[in-house]
């Protein structure tokens, strides 16, 4: 127990700067539309102590009802097309759809397989794309912060 307490007071101080500038509230609902779990690993890394998106007021939520941002990963397989649409309808406005990874853009390496419908944009309107196969956690984080920038500056992102 003592070791735990002592470790707490040695957290690095330098990252405090970034967090001051951007703070708001963004809840993300991650929809796995048939992804090969590469992007998921990176998204999980986002909430560990190093990247810690919690600092910026971003948190992952369970149901699209609570979410403002739908983070879609992976090419949309035929089975996931319906549920993806349902998730999109279940998210209250104003909502943003962000696709992570090349598979989500246009099907990526699985483009013409019989099971894949194609990119996410074929199923639901997409606002933002984070390239990379899979994009590293840092890249995803920077993109997310950029999205929050956009939201903060011009309030009128309305779908």
């Amino acid at each position: 127990m003592f070791k735990l307490l002592s470790k707490i007071f040695k957290t690095p101080k330098k990252t405090i700067l970034v967090e001051k500038k951007i703070s708001g509230s963004l809840s993300i609902r991650q929809v796995d539309a048939g992804s090969d779990n590469a992007c998921e690993q990176e998204l999980v890394a986002l909430s560990n102590p190093i990247y810690d998106i919690e600092r910026f007021g971003i948190h992952f939520v369970a149901s699209p009802r609570h979410a403002d941002l739908l983070l879609v990963t992976g090419p949309v397989t035929r089975n996931m097309e319906g549920p993806l649409k349902k998730a999109y309808e279940a998210t209250p406005n104003p909502k943003i759809v962000v696709t992570v990874g090349d598979d989500a853009l246009d099907g990526g390496i699985y483009k013409d397989s019989y099971a894949v419908v194609g990119g996410v944009s074929k199923v639901i309107p997409v606002n933002y794309h984070i390239p990379g196969n899979p994009p590293s956690a840092k890249i995803i984080l920077s993109h997310l912060l950029k999205i929050m920038e956009i939201i903060k500056n011009n309030k009128e992102i309305r779908i």
């Binding site: 699209p64 009802r65 319906g82 549920p83 993806l84 349902k86 998730a87 279940a90 209250p92 406005n93």
Partner: protein, 649 residues
Amino acid sequence: MINLIIIFLIGAFGSLILQRDDRLANIWSNSLAIIGALWGLIFSITNFLYRTNSTFIIGKNTLPILSLSLKIDQLSTFFIFIISLITLFSSIYALDYVKHYFKKYNIGALGFFFHLFIVGMLLVVTSSNGIFFLIAWEIMSVASYFLVIYDRNDLKNVQAGFTYLVMTHIGTVFIIIAFLIMYRFTGSFDFDAIKSGSLSIPQLMKNVIFILALIGFGTKAGIVPFHIWLPVAHPAAPSHVSALMSGVMIKTGIYMMIRIFLDLMQPVPVWWGLLILIIGSISSLLGVLFALTEHDIKKLLAYHSIENIGIILLGLGSSLTFTSLNMPGLALLSLTASLFHTLNHATFKSLLFMGAGAVIKETHTRNMEEYGGLIRYMPQTALFFLVGSMAISALPPFNGFFSEWLTYQALFQGIFTLDSTIKWIFIFATGSLAFTGGLALACFVKAFGATFLARSRSEEKHQIKEAPLSLRIGMGGLSLLTLILGIFSGKIITFAQKNVHLSSSVSAPNFFLSFLVIILAVILIARYLINKNQKEIVSGTWDCGTTLGPRMEITATGFARSIILIFKGILKPTIQHDIEYHDSENRYLPKSKLVTLKVQDIHHSYFYQPLKQIINIISFKIKRTQSGITNAYILYIFIALIVALFFIL
């Protein structure tokens, strides 16, 4: 008083005469009942205000023992008030409810037994002579027996009626023995003579009378070991009758307990009150536990009657203990608590039974698993049922809370002032009351949720329509009553605390006002100030994208399963899997699996089963004496003659 009974008798015989034409008989019997009920209300209220105690003696010297004497003091006026109040609402309810019996059964008979039942109850609460009381008790029991087996196409109802008849008459046997002992020592059946002569009864005999009366009236009131008939008989009766039965009839048992223990047998040892306290807490706990296991809505409500009777007994038991420890102030507090709870229970229990009746009328089944989503088709019944369930689980603005609050205060005072073992019994009672409150809340969330909310769990539920007008008037009146009784309970609480310093007091009106004001403020601010420009879009329920079928939502058994498993020591749940396979050899491809969840009734297996075996063994032994040879019988007579001669000379 006499003209009150005459009205009901006219109603009874009138509906018999008009039994040819269903509609006329129904209107006649119910309108007569309404007039009688109104008369009863006026009579009891005037009697209450002017504090008049009136006595009527009909034919004093017809028979040496039996004198048809009625004595109406404050206690019986209170019970007349309850009886006429619930009769008023249940007969309004019955106007339309009985219509669905029209072609099937004889409506005249229903009216006749309904009126006879009320006359029986009125006489029970006012009679002041032992024999006359027993006659009235029999009228009440037999009339309610015929009402229970009224829907006789369903065999289960007839069996239920039979169990009910047997159990009530076992109870009556105990009562008769108690009255005989009283007669033996005081020389008369009149309550006043018994009351004055009660000092001459030796203490041992008083205890015997106490036990007998407790068992006798306990069977009628439905305390735990003798409650077997209640969850069987009440659901079988038509709803407006089961509302009357569980709202008022079981209270006659309570009335007589008060009359005998607190009035006639006055110098009372302490252990009487403590025994009632223990029985009260056990029956309230077990009542609510078994209510949780039920998925037949009327059985669930019947078990809740047992639970509420337990709470009333808590109040009664504590008042008895306080009288025997001569603390009159606290005794008054706990007696008012139990009487106030009797009144409240009568109102919200009959409201709930009427709600259940309306639901059963539409869905033609009592099984809660086949309900669901009825709030869309029956919004007003749902609202009244919600009010009823909030009142019964003692949530503040309604009357259930304030009577339970008073019982709590009585028990707290018991804990603070008394000492050693008595204190621990009071702590046990308060603990059981607390747990009962919590479990009752869980049970009524299950009952209301499974019946009214979400989607309907059986397909052919499209033609349900809202309950007819008179049903809604009956239920609406009662729910309004529960609210009014709740808000204006301030006077009763101040009356109860007259000479007792209570650490805290609750004032209902300003709680209710602040509650309303705050809700309005919140709605105003949230809806119209902060997000004026937000829209509300309607779409399907979110279930991780899967298609949502009616079988996805929770059922009544599913809801209560976790609590049943926690209390498995008492409830002994059993799971039975029977799997059906495609082909017999190959055990790996099950076609269908049926899981049946059942709860074993401990009373049956630990109290009534051994009792039955003992009786069987004894009766087989006696059977051998019936050898069938006439000579043997004459021999028995001969021996009996000799023995008798020996004794007499």
